[in-house]
């Protein structure tokens, strides 16, 4: 049993899952936003980054790790809601290009703004959990206490989202608000508030990912969430942009795939091979691997 845990394959799986849950979290945020407003939030990663920087700034004033995490997530929640109110609301009913351009512009502002305020160098939040891998009989198990926290955090967020979607009317209402806002309104759904809530939740979930990243090996820079956005988008798109669980599973798969490539192929392939997966996956199932077939209406 322990031998299996220290094997090369299991090592890759551990490392891959640890990384993949982060893609899954960003993918999950994208799915929530997509489901509630039919907008692809290109600034999802940058919003998470910004919220986490806010939390970090407070940490430097002596708050502890958990407080920082809570503040970052709260900042993400507020930022997401505010973004929907101010930037996104004027975009409803407008051509797709408008929302793409506005969100790309917001991405630019957040990243440049973060550099302006906090500088471009990497920052870390030191977590109370060790980053060093477990050892057994001189062999490494590629899991660390922090990696376990990371996976646990991601699973917790997913469970909360799934719970909200499944056991409250929220998921249904979000979908109704996105598909037929007028009808939803007639049915007594407070559509505006719901859309704001969707963005706020998504952004908070993204902030969890950014906090975790800032406690990892690389730390957080104003731009390194780009990577997570791209792979998170790939995860969400492969999963179908409609399926929260699909996004998470696809994220984990992408993380594992990258790890196997790093281990068994030229490591530089890891950063572009997911794009190939995306292209192939979308060619086979344009509506996403985990989404129901949609037909074209004439």
């Amino acid at each position: 049993m322990i031998d299996l845990l220290t094997s090369r394959v299991m090592g890759d799986i551990f490392l891959g899952v640890t990384q993949g849950v982060l893609y899954g979290l960003i993918g999950l945020s994208l799915v929530i936003v997509w489901q509630s407003t039919n907008i692809l939030n290109f600034a999802q990663g940058a919003m998470a980054m910004f919220a986490t920087y806010v939390g970090m700034t407070l940490l430097e004033h002596g708050l502890n790790y958990w407080a920082c995490l809570a503040i970052s997530v709260a900042a993400g929640f507020v930022l997401g809601g505010a973004t929907e109110r101010v930037l996104v609301r004027p975009l409803y009913g407008k051509p797709e290009i408008n929302s793409i351009v506005v969100m790309v512009g917001f991405l630019g502002i957040l990243e440049a703004g973060a550099i302006a305020i906090w500088g471009g160098t990497s920052r870390m939040i030191v977590s109370p959990f060790s980053l060093s891998y477990f050892q057994h009989n001189g062999k490494t198990i590629f899991l660390s206490p922090f990696a376990i926290l990371q996976i646990a955090a991601a699973v917790t967020v997913m469970l909360i989202v799934a719970g909200l979607f499944r056991f409250t009317k929220l998921g249904l209402q979000l979908r109704a608000a996105a598909l037929a806002p007028e009808v939803a309104r007639l049915l007594g759904v407070r559509v505006n508030r719901l859309l704001t809530l969707g963005w706020a939740l998504a952004s908070a979930a993204g902030a969890v990912a950014a906090v975790v990243i800032s406690s990892g090996f690389e730390g957080l820079t104003p731009t390194n969430m780009d990577v997570y956005f791209v792979f998170g988008f790939i995860a969400a798109a492969v999963g179908g942009l409609e399926s929260p669980l699909g996004a998470v599973l696809a994220g984990v798969l992408i993380g594992m795939l990258q790890q196997f490539i790093v281990d068994y192929a030229p490591p530089s392939w890891a950063s572009f091979s997911p794009v190939l997966i995306l292209v192939v996956a979308l060619m086979i199932r344009p509506q996403g691997l985990f989404s129901k077939q949609r037909v074209r209406r004439v």
Binding site: P90, V104, V227, I234, L241, S271
Partner: protein, 360 residues
């Protein structure tokens, strides 16, 4: 006696060729007059305008949003650079043609999924492409220079050109002017072709697909092929721009062609005006002069240019402009100019009508 209007209506291509020729001569004259620094700005403006007008075709005409054209620029630039590395003498036109060919193929490959993807899926996929290209080029190893990029012999100014512009003794100035001249001529040719295409039936096919793909299919437009064609042409223009950039800078770095460049292209295009030739030209000029405009702003406001804020000011301004344009004036500067001229004309017409009605 044929009026100008009739000439334009009956011989549109000739009219466009004539306009292109006049503009080219004027710009070449300008390149010769201005100092070497402004020559590099003119070159940059021409190069960016080529890439932006290609993006304008894709987004404005065919309605497909790409955040991946920096990837095609990279492919064009590295094709030229790799070619220059392995051949002591390389013909300018030949390497540009090769870059265009390679990036067109890349455009077709990326365009194929576009036949099945819509809106945000497509935009996200092109973004992923832009993201993947620099590491892909780095992974090619020494062949493409790795992460250190490629350097190759500087552009050789022909002796006749240097003496013609009276800069025989000043090779640096002659070089800059020569570079600007090449970029201007290539951009002029590219814009001429694009102008033709915008007014052609194929160009209309793209607008049909953008507006209503079902109706487009019913009038015989092959929607899938049209979408891919838009990607191919857009990639060809981006590749040409990349090739020119490599030629003029005599070096290429993979990192210069990251997602940030794609975002810059998109911002400039939206600012200039989607789907118009004039908008792309304005956008090219803004691209070239944006750095000096920003440093001007820095000195006005007293912001230290090497501070965090000074360094990211351009990004903030671009982002703000992008959002403001989309929320307030979605047709960009070109559209704004159009609207103002229409407003003025309607005012003039009103005045005329008033004075006419007052006379009797």
């Amino acid at each position: 006696m044929v009026s100008i209007k009739q000439f334009i209506a009956n011989r549109p291509t000739s009219a466009r060729a004539l306009a292109t020729l006049v503009a080219t001569i004027a710009l070449l004259g300008l390149a010769i007059i201005v100092d070497p620094l402004n020559d590099t700005y003119l070159a940059t403006a021409s190069i960016m305008a080529i890439a932006i007008v290609g993006l304008s075709l894709l987004i404005g005409l065919s309605g497909q949003v790409s955040i991946g054209n920096s990837g095609f620029m990279a492919i064009g630039a590295f094709t030229t650079a790799i070619w220059a590395q392995h051949h002591a003498h390389f013909p300018l036109l030949g390497s540009m043609a090769l870059s265009v060919a390679v990036s067109t193929v890349a455009g077709i490959v990326l365009g194929l999924p576009s036949t099945r993807l819509r809106g945000p899926y497509l935009a996200g996929m092109t973004l992923a492409f832009a993201f993947a290209i620099p590491p892909f080029i780095q992974s090619l190893g020494t062949f493409a220079g790795g992460s250190g990029g490629l350097y190759f012999p500087t552009l050789q100014t022909p002796a006749w050109f240097a003496s013609a512009i009276g800069e025989k003794d000043n090779p640096l100035a002659a070089n800059n002017t020569w570079g600007a001249a090449i970029a201007i001529v290539v951009a002029a040719v590219a814009f001429f072709f694009m102008a033709n295409f915008f007014h052609s039936r194929s160009g209309r096919a793209m607008r049909l697909v953008r507006d209503n793909d079902v109706a487009a299919e019913l009038v015989g437009v092959n929607v899938a092929r049209t979408r891919v064609l838009a990607f191919a042409i857009s990639a060809a223009f981006a590749g040409l721009a990349g090739s020119l950039l490599a030629i003029i800078q005599s070096s290429v770095l993979p990192q210069t062609f990251g997602v940030a460049l794609s975002i810059e292209l998109l911002s400039l295009l939206v600012l200039g005006g989607l789907g118009t030739l004039g908008g792309a030209m304005i956008a090219g000029l803004i691209a070239a002069y944006s750095d000096s405009i920003v440093s001007r702003i820095n000195s006005w406001t007293g912001i230290d240019p090497v501070s965090n804020l000074g360094g990211s000011l351009k990004g903030i301004i671009f982002g703000l402009i992008l959002i403001a344009t989309m929320l307030l004036a979605p047709s960009g500067l070109a559209g704004l100019g159009h609207r103002i001229s229409r407003f003025v004309r309607s005012r003039v017409a009103q005045k005329k009508a008033l004075s006419v009605s007052e006379t009797p």
